[in-house]
Symmetry: D2
Subunit: 350 residues, 4 copies
């Protein structure tokens, strides 16, 4: 296989980023088509991605195009069906996170890919940021000794629409945003979360409570090996899109984060000032490229992708447990050994 013929399913904010990157910055792949039900987005995709074909449904796209692989960036609630359809069509798949809204959905998606013999990688983007990559290298090389504490923050400047926040659409704050903090912690520590406890509330945006979601949350996690963590997610960090991670070991620590957007500092009678990152592409732009390139390389080389559906399932299990703990006010145990085909007696399924 020389150059992957690819399409992007769904060209909202994330999908369009993937489409543009495929169009111009990825070696070994060419973007042939996108699908979207929105005429506005169709135009935007045509404007920014060269001579791309645009379809108003995934069915239409699959019928008309000869493809090798797809990026699925549709609404989370549509992920599983899209994965099953694309897998059935024999296409390798990079699917945005979370893979599904329930563990059963994750299992269906994973089973679909396995049955079809296609690669299924999940979009754990932040793992491909140079800061996290280097932090992982330092930790694995013993640079901080044994990890004992993990602290993480994901801050968005403004709450999303109520329609998006809906637990049945995006999964809400924990499944959509804190999800990143969970997979990063699991990956950086090389360990699984066994217990969570969460506090959360719709403190600022009361409308979000009408669909069961919260706008700020703190979740404690306990890892199997004993390490502890504290994850914070906020949809009201008005000062910027603040993504931070930190692992403290018994010999040192790593801190990942970059709030500053431009390399400028202004000084005046009030002191020193600098600007802040406002959007995900400003902070994670390169990680999108690295992730997409990694997927393309894995498919071409026939190697296992660095993020599997099992990773996605384990992360979702913790996120679901955290959401339930917030809802119940009680700590929730997370199963660590997950037989993805037959989850039995899940204490945390919603």
């Amino acid at each position: 296989m020389n150059e992957l013929r690819m399409a992007v399913v769904g060209v909202g904010r994330m999908g369009l980023t993937h489409a543009e990157n495929l169009h111009s910055r990825i070696r070994g792949a060419q973007l042939l088509a996108v699908s979207t039900s929105s005429a506005v987005r169709a135009d935007e995709a045509r404007r920014r991605c060269g001579a791309v074909s645009v379809y108003d449904s995934l069915d239409g796209l699959l019928e008309a195009e000869t493809l090798d692989a797809v990026v699925i960036a549709s609404s989370t609630s549509a992920h599983v069906a899209n994965v099953e359809d694309c897998a059935a069509a024999g296409l390798h798949i990079l699917c945005e996170k979370p893979l599904g809204l329930s563990l059963e959905d994750c299992d269906r998606a994973a089973e679909g890919a396995r049955a079809a013999g296609v690669t299924l990688m999940v979009g754990h983007t932040r793992r491909f940021d140079s800061g996290y990559i280097e932090a992982k290298r330092v930790i694995d090389s013993g640079g901080i000794g044994t990890p004992v504490l993990y602290r993480s923050l994901s801050g968005d400047m403004n709450p999303p629409s109520v329609a998006f926040a809906d637990l049945g659409v995006s999964g809400g704050l924990i499944l959509d945003s804190m999800y990143h903090d969970i997979y990063l912690g699991r990956w950086l520590l090389g360990d699984e979360v066994v217990r969570v406890y969460g506090e959360g509330g719709a403190l600022i945006d009361e409308s979000i409570a009408t669909v069961g979601d919260v706008d700020n949350a703190v979740v404690s996690v306990r890892f199997a090996g004993g390490a502890m963590g504290s994850l914070t997610a906020s949809r009201t960090t008005r000062y910027g899109h603040d993504l931070r991670g930190e692992v403290i070991g018994d010999e040192g620590a790593v801190q990942i984060g970059r709030l500053r957007r431009t390399p400028l500092r202004v000084l005046d009678r009030n002191g020193a000032h600098h600007d802040a990152v406002h959007t995900t592409p400003e902070r994670m732009g390169d990680a999108f490229v690295t992730m997409l390139q990694t997927f393309v390389d894995c498919v071409i080389d026939g190697t296992e992708p660095p993020v599997t559906s099992a990773d996605a399932r384990a992360t979702l299990a913790v996120a679901l447990a955290g959401r339930r703990s917030i809802q119940t006010g009680l700590p929730v145990e997370v199963e660590t050994t997950m037989t993805s085909g037959s989850p039995t007696g899940d204490p945390y399924k919603s």
Copy 2:
């Protein structure tokens, strides 16, 4: 009253700092005497505090000297008895934190001071750091909107001796160290903690587990007004004495911290490097002076001190609840309305 005649009870690390500051940096007070049962510390006090009288017991000191006020910096387990004795002698009191190891002890100490009509202030030192003072001013002026998240970290470079860690001596990690994170959060947010959940373990220093203590802990807190917090305490931040606080509101945030010791940055083929604060005086030296000066000014002016025994009691209640949650694995509710004169039963149910 022109100049307070003062003594320091106990001249361990903290007590000696107070004695030196009283000797040389505080206006309106003079250090007349200290008490210590250690001959080594007696010599050290004489060497560093001029013509100070040294007694081997508080009784001896109280009998021989004519005083207006004392600083109590003895072992935490001795605080209450010391406070009662000094109050009975009619002396105004600045007592190191925590005031006692139980709420009953706090109440006894507070009652002793009230009965004697003397001022009792508790050593919540970090509140007097310029960073926290300025953060409080910004928050109170509306600079960050409504506080919704509080994040805090207290990191010591090395575990203390097992004898000190003993829950019956210092109270352990939560009562001795995370105590600071609790009173800072209550003060900065102007709100009381109503629920806590803690994870903790003796991950690095197993010997500390023999006296029931932990070396790393994460405690979630929920405030009465809805805000959430995450407090982290570590005795193994080998890279430095890392004290950090952060309050995020719906219009902005404040971050307090200073890890860097000297104003030097070194650059070499490995990048850029700077040193770290290793000890409390390196980080909080000025706060000790400000706190002591505040106490002296309050006594001279006859005004209420900014930290009362009620503050100390409310902080201890949260700390005890956090410690219990770690021990039981369950969330613990904290009573918010505390009538310090008549505590009935447990202020927090588990």
Copy 3:
């Protein structure tokens, strides 16, 4: 004109960057061809720029291709002849800096473009960095009052080859590297340099002295309006590719710079550490794209480019004066009013 048909002349380090950006990241342009005399570079260009045609000479390229515009990234000593040839062929030109090694060369290049009626923009890349753009905006909006001091540093990690350092090839440290500090200062302050004084030496790399160059230099500049500046260039900042600029006004200041490469901080018993930028693309990658896009947009829209040959000439005049001052040990006056069409005698008297 819908989409510019473009070529890149010379695909060394800079030329290849331009070619790749044209190939993949610039709207409104397509890369058709490159020229290089190096077989190795020809292969590299084919590998990284898709189906690009490669010629072993500019003549061959101009003969075979139908083009609208070119990027000239050949050796500085070849710039003028290349500009003249491309202008004669009716092509719009973006030429790498410096435009030439003498003011006479600059004038020839400018005259060639003017005679042919084509756009000639010069590659003052750093002006297109977000930090400098934002600094300029702050200064122009009055945010720092009247600029009085300009401080700048350009540090490369290692000296170039002796062949490159040759004053007759690259122009040496002042024309090749400090050139950036000069045009940035002129632009940020909106003022011309009228006097320079330089100190320089081959302190570390003695071989570079054999071709008349220096590896470290400090040049003082005086602006017509009275402001003062100090420019530093070094080829031995082993710790990183350190590009910094600063303008201090009578109401505030701006500081531009970013030494950190990844958003990671590592903490250990020696303190806190972060990495450093090592290469120009790591620091200025986005500026290359912005500059190229600006050129393409100007040509398509028929507007004046933001960097003209007059800018390039005025910058070169200061650089030449600085080099001469280092050579003579005396201050050198720089002519401020330059009629680029009729330069009479030396623009700066010593």
Copy 4:
């Protein structure tokens, strides 16, 4: 000699700082008296320095008190006469910088101390800042290789009174402020300045020009060993009291500076903000204590002080040369071997 009996001559801003430090923070010395012709300052000294005796003249003080040592903090123009009088009285002397306004004055002061056999140390305060001390240690240990560049900035927030700026009183910007940058450079590099070139102007405060002074200046320096430097002094850094130093070697670099006052960062919709140091005590408070303690220790131990009159003379020689260069517009050579008793053919004496 057990405890030095000391006095402070002149209790302006600096003198009062020294008096307070002697009163309360210096081991091995006691403050007995101060002299000042100002009734207001006399009251201030009494208020802040305990039971100190206050005299309205140095003569009166020397007549009435039995002393071992003095700190001279009078106006610079009075330094030499004060040093001669105190030396004649057999007192060890710590004199504020600069020691005099001319090299002849320096020589008179040095000769007076030598003849009387008393210690004469000069107040090069910044050398005692922890940042500079650590930088010196790193440089001397080979941590940055061979120093090649020295960059320094001294910024005051506001111009002084015209009366103070007078070249015949304080010596003006170069002798009063850039003086620090000169001795720091000489000390950090362990090398002498052999040539200077300066640009300066009264750009903001025109009144200062009436007494021959400037408010902003840039001075290039060349060291005997080849290294180059650029020193900047400003009296209009409105954003803060900005003191920075940097030495770049062929293996690394050190950067010294701290603009931030409190350990607080505020984040809002405009980005991230922190305050700035406004005064010398905020930045250099500890250095005053360290310097004074060093002087007291040297006198008690009978050891050579780390800053001698020869250091002061060599620094002044560079400062005078820099001032002359600004006045003449020409580079000025500085004699490196200075026989302080007989400077002959000084190219830079004023």
